[in-house]
Symmetry: C3
Subunit: 327 residues, 3 copies
Amino acid sequence: MPTLQELCALVQGELSGEPSTEISGVAALENAGPTELAAIENQKYVPLLADSRAGAFLVPRELGQELDRPCIFTEFPQAALNLVIESFGLHVPRPAPGVHPTAVVEPGASIGEKVHLGAYAVVHAGAVVGAGCVLSAHVVVEGDVVIGDDCVLEPGAVVHNGARLGSRVHLGACSVVSRQGFGFAPSPQGPIKLHHVGLTVLEDGVHIGAGTTIDRARFDETRIGALSALDNQVHIGHNATVGQRTFIAAQSGMAGNSHIGDDCKLGGQVGLANHARIGNRCGIGAQSGAMGTWEEGTTLLGSPAFEKTEFFRMLSALRKLSKKKKQ
Amino acid sequence: MPTLQELCALVQGELSGEPSTEISGVAALENAGPTELAAIENQKYVPLLADSRAGAFLVPRELGQELDRPCIFTEFPQAALNLVIESFGLHVPRPAPGVHPTAVVEPGASIGEKVHLGAYAVVHAGAVVGAGCVLSAHVVVEGDVVIGDDCVLEPGAVVHNGARLGSRVHLGACSVVSRQGFGFAPSPQGPIKLHHVGLTVLEDGVHIGAGTTIDRARFDETRIGALSALDNQVHIGHNATVGQRTFIAAQSGMAGNSHIGDDCKLGGQVGLANHARIGNRCGIGAQSGAMGTWEEGTTLLGSPAFEKTEFFRMLSALRKLSKKKKQ
Amino acid sequence: MPTLQELCALVQGELSGEPSTEISGVAALENAGPTELAAIENQKYVPLLADSRAGAFLVPRELGQELDRPCIFTEFPQAALNLVIESFGLHVPRPAPGVHPTAVVEPGASIGEKVHLGAYAVVHAGAVVGAGCVLSAHVVVEGDVVIGDDCVLEPGAVVHNGARLGSRVHLGACSVVSRQGFGFAPSPQGPIKLHHVGLTVLEDGVHIGAGTTIDRARFDETRIGALSALDNQVHIGHNATVGQRTFIAAQSGMAGNSHIGDDCKLGGQVGLANHARIGNRCGIGAQSGAMGTWEEGTTLLGSPAFEKTEFFRMLSALRKLSKKKKQ
């Protein structure tokens, strides 16, 4: 078992407590046992510390220094915990480079060095797959696709033509990227589907969840900014754009041509209407439906969505009214 | 064609009517013809009986005894109808045991007796698959997975590391079980994805729909209780827990760390917020969004969700108010 | 580069402007450069024309005739643009007929002429696949399935038993058609899943998005009418029926036995309750939840959904009330 001192060195923290204390593993704050390490990253969890049986804590100095408990002080406790988890070998390891004999790589596809191609992965002619990528079992990459270095595509992910992935992009299982957008128009023969010939750009470090679908632009681009993360079963319509470091929770959807800025947080099952424009640093509560233009820093709630204060005012007025009726 | 008497014996019911009547098949109450059998399981459908042209009915004694029509009395008419459907060979048969030559079973995977492995199924080293399981075409089972006996995995289902399936679990096509949860934290290099090292436990008889996604716990467990059923495109976040015999309709989502008890019914497109705690025997109407703690037996409606009576009072007050404005 | 005259002939339009003008490509109205062609199909975009730098426009005569700009007059500008896109080779081409050596076609499956079977596609015994179909990589077609001519199944689409597809049906990646419906009933052994033995009928020209799931009928049919289009991640329950030329945006869901007529438009994340009946030419706004019966031509908004005028009246009354409280 590693000692507290060894783990402290690993995460480049500062030790407070007996260095030779042995740590057997990691756990959640409320369930950790006396030889386990737990992490607390903000004030909210400090009240739980007293009751925790954890053997030691990863904690920012300002939260932990009053504690008379073994601590490793670090500005980034959860990131540090990731390193500890890796040192214990508890994480899911990255598959080793190598091409499974059943993988189909068509002539004319370009596969970088140290790539892992899983069983039955299919890469069509013309595709470019960067170095160090992991294409898991049953992944399909069409021909007009560029994938940067060190990307991970989980089993069954489908990358259609027109996709341009940066480096370190992660696609969840059964996600579908760069699908033809949902656009139809009348013709002499009845409604026909419009060709979508733009791109789908996922910048560096973008994370896409399982079952998430992202449509290709009609012209120009659908774009997800660097380090943004989309949870499972999210839908992004054609020509929608997402800024950087924006988090979108499960089952949310952005209609075609909608936009959300940098550093936003969307709850689950949120909808953005066509041409909605949401500024940077906005928050949108779960199940809200946002239309129109909202400036930087707004918090939205409700369907249709209103600014938070207005939403609560309306809800409160309605509750009062309904109680009055009762009397 | 089997006679009414034969079908009655098959379902262990009680016959009321001419035993030698021949039955040609089964149908819905409103469309059944004079040689077809239909089932009625509750009071609600009794008024439709008079108009039904069905040749005979599977019906509980208390609903059918006043009828002057051929009946098989049984406490469980729909379960009985399942048996009749099987006797006619109308159901989708379970594939025979056998391993398709294209299935990839890595050395170190343990496959039970009488398992069906479909074309291009992939089972990674370390996985344990119980006896009598059906892994359909293109199923992927990662290495740190245990699957009990008699489970059915539909085409393209993906079972990630950390999954622990009981017996008789059913996974729909393109469902994704035990995916790494949606958790990120700051690091010196910007936001990083947190390792999720807990388990995903699906107890005996759990049913998971097509395209449904279930995330692995950060620590501890995500758990779906025995005989609970999730429809298509449901999302279950990391560390969420579902009790036993709970039914969740399509496109509903449970955020991380939310909980719902035993014997609950959720409509479609319902959302449960982080840390929501819903007691046993609760009902939640379609599109509702539940937060906080609700005790056993509560019915919730609306987004945000209120207890049913309060929801209707609010809705009614609003409707009255809007009509007043009109005048 | 083709000339305006050549493109005009291609789309069978009427030329207004210098015939020898060379066109280098196509683009969106707002981004088109001086050698590019853009399309405008309705009045709404006419104000943008003046600012567009496009070299020429595809436009209906009545919108374009006042313009002093090079135009190709056509009643169907977007359909014409599709033809131009194809002439430039910008669209995703249909894969050539041919059977990949890794495709598994079980004996007893019937495959039409000029079919494309991608890598690892699986067609079970008994299935009928019409002429000219494209079954992309990893598609799975079960045995009791009939697929008409010229259908396209994107990678990973799963077609279960009971599906009956017309001609020119399009299935998105990871879509799941004809899954057993979500129906359970009590039995002496606890809840059991009911056999669904009806059909799933997708009429000619139906379009199904990625990750969309369509359940098989208990008896009778689940049916999507000709030329209707469902976006990504839509869910259609057992025995639900959709009329012709109806468009359903992403993440909407229809519960079992619900019905929507011809020529309807549903926004994203809409829900239809069990047994809801929506007439022809109805519109339902995003995130609305419709119950009960609504006659032809109704526009619905809200959850629960009301007729549009009533919805706005309620919303307006609530806003006024909440502002009053402030004072």
